[in-house]
């Protein structure tokens, strides 16, 4: 029989073998828990593309049921067809075998491939009837109106400027149109992709949701809301400049307005007034109000929306005064400025913005619908009413007269933000809504590197768009 030395060595050997096996099991578990997720996304893994090639991607429709994107062709040889390849280039984006996906094609990829909806019943039917193809994605209906979308896109491209336009329904948060300039042709993405990357002028960049702009005077809506909420004295004597900490904040064009109140200061966009009052309100209150307008907040949206920032931590009083007129460390997206406008149009409530109205199965059953939800109660209905009247004055007799349209009262605010580049080059803004009594459409327009003020270039564009949109919606 075995002696004890032999026995001991045998057990050492066995333990060695067991350690080897445990090593395998531990490494395999480690790999699956920590490494597998990143490894499956490696481009050399063809599983995803094989699966996708066999699925008929769902169609995308606008709010009137017009087809915006659809998949045609034979199984494993499908092609994606876009009805408005340029107008919707940033909203819908593209789904390419070689260049990947962007826009809603990327965010709603799983739904469009039908990966979210249960298919048990259909699988069962397909088992008995081979004509049934279970690999068909879900369809998606957007909130947009393609006539408005095309009009907005044409109008923006005609300015020959970089910029963005957002058109929304302020009472629901539905996006009616959204355009960014420059854009690209989603249909030809496979051919054009490399050239667009090489040109590097931001054609893939959706300025409406990704562009961070100094808001300039349009931010006075927020400042005015903060003034209304706090009990600071609303009267002021304007001398053309307001000196804070030794540095002066001046009015545009060197104007002097004398004795004014909030309404006049807002109507004529008097910088000195707002700088003075912001200092009186104080940083904390101003920040609190700005955050109720969703500054510094991540907003859940169908596309990747950049967070608009109001970084007030390190501000001294001069920076606070600059912030009151939309300079300093404030960066907003055009969509964010539309949301701020919507708060005024919608009795103080900001509705969550959305682009996808509903998702339906190929058979027509509804899988998911969007219910309008309140994102933030920014201000009281009374203050919203007062601000709406002030914004109406802006368009009737103030800096936003260019935004007037026939037979309908428009409320709005102009902005002209200095950019860091050269003097005489501005970001021209206009935000507004109409009709004032029963708002149906709100709009934000921004044109980059403009030689003219917001009231001169952005307001007339906004007027055209609101007039067209109201006509479309009636």
């Amino acid at each position: 029989m075995m002696n004890s030395k032999e026995n001991k060595r045998l057990i050492v050997l066995l333990l060695g073998l067991i350690a080897m096996f445990l090593g395998l099991i531990l490494y395999l578990s480690y790999f699956t828990v920590f490494e597998a997720k990143t490894i499956v996304d490696h481009p050399a893994n063809r599983r995803d593309s094989i699966k996708v090639a066999g699925i008929k991607r769902g169609a995308i429709l606008d709010s009137k049921g017009n087809v915006l994107a659809e998949t045609v062709g034979e199984k494993y040889n499908y092609t994606r067809h876009y009805t408005y390849p340029r107008a919707y280039s940033h909203v819908i984006g593209y789904a390419s075998k070689t260049k990947g996906r962007s826009g809603l094609e990327a965010t709603y990829n799983d739904a469009l491939l039908g990966l979210n909806s249960g298919k048990t019943l259909k699988d069962l039917q397909a088992f008995f009837d081979s004509d049934i193809d279970t690999e068909v994605g879900d369809n998606m209906t957007l909130t947009t109106n393609s006539n408005i979308q095309e009009f907005v896109r044409e109008t923006l491209i005609e300015t020959d400027k970089k910029g963005a336009i957002v058109v929304m329904n302020p009472t629901t948060g539905a996006i009616l149109a959204m355009a960014s300039s420059p854009d690209f042709n989603a249909q030809n993405i496979d051919q054009d992709y490399n050239a667009i990357v090489e040109q590097n002028n931001g054609a893939f960049f959706n300025n409406a949701i990704q562009g961070g702009y100094a808001p300039g005077s349009v931010f006075k809506i927020v400042t005015a809301a903060a003034i209304l909420e706090s009990d600071v004295d609303q009267s002021y004597e304007d001398t053309g400049e307001e000196v804070i900490l030794g540095r002066a904040i001046k009015n545009a064009g060197g104007e002097k307005y004398g004795d004014i109140d909030l309404n006049e200061a807002f109507t004529y966009s008097v910088n000195t007034y707002f700088a003075n009052k912001a200092v009186a309100i104080g940083k904390d209150k101003f920040t609190e109000v700005a955050e109720r307008f969703m500054m510094n907040k991540d907003i859940d949206f169908d596309l990747n929306l950049a967070t608009s920032t109001f970084k007030s931590e390190g501000w001294d009083q001069h920076a606070l005064g600059s912030a009151a007129i939309g300079q300093a460390d404030i960066l907003t997206t055009p969509l964010q400025m539309t949301l701020i406008t919507n708060a005024i149009a919608n009795q103080g409530k900001i509705m969550a913005p959305y682009l996808v109205e509903r998702i339906t199965s190929p058979e027509g059953a509804t899988i998911q619908t969007h219910e309008p939800t309140v994102l933030s109660e920014a201000i009281t209905p009374e203050n919203a009413q007062k601000l709406a009247e002030m914004m109406e004055n802006v368009v009737r007799q103030g800096s936003g007269r260019g935004a007037q349209i026939r037979r309908t009262a428009v409320a709005g605010k102009t902005g002209t933000a200095q950019t860091r580049q050269a003097d005489g080059s501005y970001n021209a803004w206009f935000v507004g809504f109409a009709p004032v009594k029963d708002p149906k459409v709100s709009v934000a327009v921004i044109l980059q590197d403009s030689e003219k003020f917001g009231g001169e270039v952005a307001a007339p564009i906004a007027a055209d768009i609101m007039e067209f949109a109201l006509g479309e919606l009636n």
Partner: protein, 422 residues
């Protein structure tokens, strides 16, 4: 009925359940109607495995679990290969059948033939001849020159059997031969060392690193337990390090293997030299813990998925839980073999059992460790699971040997005491 199967104390009923479920999924995948193939597979697989487990329980007084463990491995292998390619799956079923036959032949032959522990020089000559034959007539397949082409279709891998010869050689040397050397040789402990390194050298030339590693492990493991001159063990380790270094600088294919292991994601290599390991990792990663389900993955993307890379294929569709299950089965097999060794009174058979334990365990470790990138790839099959006749036959011979060693063999030895060591 199902509860009866689950409650059954006989594990072979659970095995039957697994087979029925797996075959049902295969039926859904490949056939929308009942055809010849699936019927042959269904009845072939179930009867072969179920019946041989039953017969073995009747005839062998030894360990009845090792064959059951192998039955499970065999089932997983055949199901996976059939899923990849039904024709190959059926051929694997035939090989399994032949393997089981060889298992019984080995079993009865080992029981019948006496004094096989005296044949150390014979085992050495067999091992050497198999190596020489490969060296002279070998053709290269899959990066290693270790195949003999018999006809156009039939390839034969002699190294699969050399492994067994090495186990027998070491067992007979340490059990008997070292006491039979009449003339006193100064360093007789160098004899097995020299023999082992000669064979390993041949394998290096054939680029068959995996088998070389197995030889080394079998030799070192048995040496660790039975070599009385402990200095020789240190010499062995020293030689191994030296040999590994020399191999690294002498042979380009070793450097390539190492480089693939360290930088598989290099864009220059990802579609050629490291494609195997990268696709293997994708398959395992896609499967996750529970797998995609049989028929729902893309295991055909894994190169040589039926033989060397069958483990990632299994993991993709059955999950790493099945993968871990397979590792555990080999662990159990190695553990049973060691347990058999501890209970075996005859030294020669004891060493044989230890040798088979090391053989199965190391081969499993080198194969699975290679495909999950824990260690460099060595190009070995997974015993009983991978497709291949040579591998299947040699594995079943090893199992037959193990079955014999699990029994009381004292009837073979009238002068039994002379074989006891102290």
């Amino acid at each position: 009925m199902l509860t009866r199967v689950f409650k059954s104390r006989k594990p072979r009923n659970l095995l039957l359940l697994f087979e029925i479920l797996a075959l049902f999924l295969l039926f859904l995948l490949n056939n929308q109607h009942i055809d010849r193939y699936i019927v042959i597979l269904f009845f072939g697989l179930i009867s072969v495995i179920y019946i041989s487990n039953f017969i073995l329980g009747k005839i062998s007084s030894g360990d009845n679990y090792i064959f059951l463990i192998v039955s499970m491995l065999l089932t997983i292998g055949i199901v996976t290969i059939y899923r990849l390619n039904p024709d190959t799956g059926l051929r694997q079923l035939v090989w399994a059948l032949v393997g089981i036959l060889v298992f019984y032949i080995t079993y009865f032959a080992m029981r019948g033939i006496r004094k096989i522990e005296n044949w150390a020089p014979f085992y050495f000559v067999v091992a050497l001849l198999l190596c020489l034959v490969t060296l002279l007539f070998g053709v290269e397949r899959g990066g290693a020159r270790n195949w003999i082409q018999i006809t156009n279709d039939i390839l034969f891998q002699p190294t699969e059997f050399t492994k067994l010869a090495v186990v027998f050689l070491m067992a007979s040397y340490y059990a008997k031969y070292q006491y039979m050397i009449s003339r006193p040789i100064a360093y007789k402990a160098l004899l097995p060392l020299g023999a082992a390194y000669l064979l390993i050298g041949f394998l290096f030339i054939q680029k068959d690193l995996g088998t070389a590693a197995i030889f080394f492990c079998i030799f070192s493991g048995i040496q660790f337990i039975y070599e009385e001159d402990r200095k020789i063990i240190l010499l062995n380790i020293g030689l191994m390090l030296l040999g590994a270094l020399a191999g690294y600088f002498l042979f380009n294919h070793i450097r390539v293997r190492l480089d693939i292991w360290l930088n598989p994601w290099d864009p220059d290599k990802i579609y050629n030299s490291s494609a195997q390991i990268v696709q293997s990792l994708f398959a395992i990663a896609e499967g996750g813990f529970f797998g995609t389900g049989i028929g729902l993955g893309n295991p055909k993307l894994v190169p040589v998925g039926i033989s060397d890379f069958i483990f990632p294929v299994i993991c993709e569709e059955m999950g790493i839980f099945a993968g871990i299950g397979i590792i555990m089965l080999y662990l159990l097999l190695a553990y049973r073999a060691m347990k058999i060794a501890m209970a075996q009174p005859v030294l020669f058979y004891r060493i044989l059992a230890i040798g088979m334990a090391i053989l199965f365990a190391v081969q499993c470790f080198l194969n699975i460790g290679g495909v999950i990138k824990l260690i460099p790839m060595t190009g070995l099959t997974l015993p009983f699971v991978s497709y291949g006749g040579s591998s299947m036959l040699s594995s079943f011979i090893a199992l037959g040997v193990l079955q014999v060693t699990s029994e009381d063999l004292s009837y073979k030895y009238e002068g039994y005491d002379e074989f006891k060591r102290k």
